[in-house]
Symmetry: C2
Subunit: 295 residues, 2 copies
DNA sequence: CCAACCCATACGTTTTCGGTATGCCAATGG
DNA sequence: CCATTGGCATACCGAAAACGTATGGGTTGG
């Protein structure tokens, strides 16, 4: 069946007259009459009683009218919804974020997003360094807050800031009395490391930093997450070299100190699939920049 | 927008490929391709991502798909419902009945109807002698159980039985000791009458009965309903001449006795609008005949 | 580098739709 | 009683839309 027929049917039912309905539909009366009869032929039963003063729904017609109105509304709503999603005023945005950034950015980012795109459902997923690429590529997240940025031909990157590396240590460590720790003081101390560079690019930045200053730190443990790293630091297993923003999620008893003479930093980036046409990405980028500016 | 486009869209979305969908729709691939593009033009945004291995919904496409599926289902259900109503397997049947018949017929009729037309919603309305015609003519009831039948050019009648008149009296009345009351014994006794013939045709049958036997009964009261008549009989206000079936609704203390020598009866009929095309009427008639047969 | 696959475009044919003219029927009014 | 009016149905024609066939262009895989 054709939606046009249903629209005509509803118009005639409401106007209780072919002529009046034709006028409202801005068409001539005869073709409308024909369409109504075709619909009746399709149903196999009369939908109207033809009286001398217009048309009147039969029981079958009333049954159809109830559904036809809803079907028309749903179809119209469907294309309207599609337009709204395409325009970015409705829809869903899946945001991935790496754990280190959560405490620093989400409290500023989420309210900003809700204000900018109130009609959009947001959902958030924590990403690990090893799965973030896959999650973007299979579209299970639309956009990702990464540190550092992803490098991949299919993935577009926009840098929105950077974080200096800092040293995380237990507050009873003698180094904690310094306001900034010289690199040389790290020599020989045990390091709590994140996964190796092939699984976590931030490791290579740390490695490069140490190499440049000719510091050797034996690796006491390798852990998967920044969270675990800080736990081991608290436990006295060793020191960790982490982005500054990680200290917002640090447990009591773990303190962060700048590294004197080390200006190395790790970049914060928004990443998304190059072929993603979602208009929400631009808005997200704006919001993320705002959130990072107030860091 | 056109429902065909939506159907095509859903097919392509499900098949994730224009070619596969075209095959399932038994049409060639190119016209399907152009229909999809026309739909996209109408929405104003791409609904699919074209990959090298088929098509994949965009977010906008997913938003549309959710509604389009429902809209298609509703439209299909609508014409299906109209067919079912026309065939009598679904719908609504408004049954009017006159109060005298309620106790005698409804307990048998309603189960019979529910068994015969399980998909049909029934509703029941009590009719008075004065409004029953109007209720049929304005279609607020589809079919009416009447006693006696309605005579009107627009209304079709099917007799399904008859009820003899009986005399209703208080059980302490001396007449109650007779197994049948001779007409002559009614002479001069007060009568509880129903509304005059122009408002209640059963009155004229009673009047004819009395006239034929040359009995005069002064009218003690006129009441609107059989129910009221029996209440006044119980109160000792007078006697009433009522159809036999009324005794099923008689209060304790009111007894019915046959009238000896009077074979007069009043007919029970099913009535409906001549132009009503509801297939349920035939079924209703069958059920009513069954119910009356077991009276 | 060629073959296979899949979608897009072009063009001619067919179906369907809408407009105009007109017929039919019932109700209304002089 | 006939004429007029109001409303839907039918007939026919021109226009628009859809379908099918043929073909192009891109990417993947051997």
């Amino acid at each position: 069946m054709d939606l046009r027929r249903l629209r005509y049917f509803v118009a005639v039912a409401e106007a209780r007259s072919v002529g009046k309905a034709a006028e409202r539909l801005r068409m001539a009366q005869p073709p409308l009459s024909v369409q109504i009869r075709k619909l009746e032929a399709e149903v196999g039963a009369p939908l109207f009683r033809r009286g001398t003063r217009g048309m009147d729904l039969t029981d079958a017609g009333q049954a159809l009218l109830a559904r036809a109105g809803e079907a028309l509304a749903l179809a119209a709503d469907g294309i309207e919804a599609a337009r709204a999603v395409a325009a970015g005023s409705r829809g869903r945005l899946s945001v991935g974020y790496m754990f280190v950034l959560a405490n620093a950015m989400l409290p500023r980012l989420i309210p900003e997003l809700r204000r900018s795109i109130p009609g959009v459902d947001l959902d958030f997923a924590e990403l690990s360094a090893s799965t973030r690429e896959a999650r973007l590529l299979d579209r299970s997240v639309t956009v990702a807050l990464c540190m550092p940025a992803i490098h991949h031909p299919e993935i577009q990157v926009a840098g929105i800031g950077a974080q200096p590396f800092m040293l995380a240590m237990p507050n009873r460590s003698p180094l904690a009395r310094l306001s900034a720790v010289p690199m040389i003081r790290l020599q020989g101390r045990p390091l709590i490391a994140l996964p190796p560079p092939e699984r976590d690019p931030s490791s290579s930045a740390v490695a490069a930093l140490l190499r440049r200053h000719q510091i050797v730190m034996p690796i006491a443990s390798r852990v998967e997450t920044v969270h675990s790293a800080m736990s081991l630091v608290l436990a006295g297993e060793g020191l960790a070299i982490l982005p500054a923003c990680a200290q917002l999620g640090a447990p009591r008893g773990v303190v962060f100190r700048p590294l004197r003479d080390a200006t190395d930093s790790i970049d914060i980036a928004v990443c998304w699939r190059r072929d993603s046409q979602s208009p929400l990405i631009r808005t997200f980028l704006k919001c993320a920049e705002k959130a990072v500016a107030r860091l």
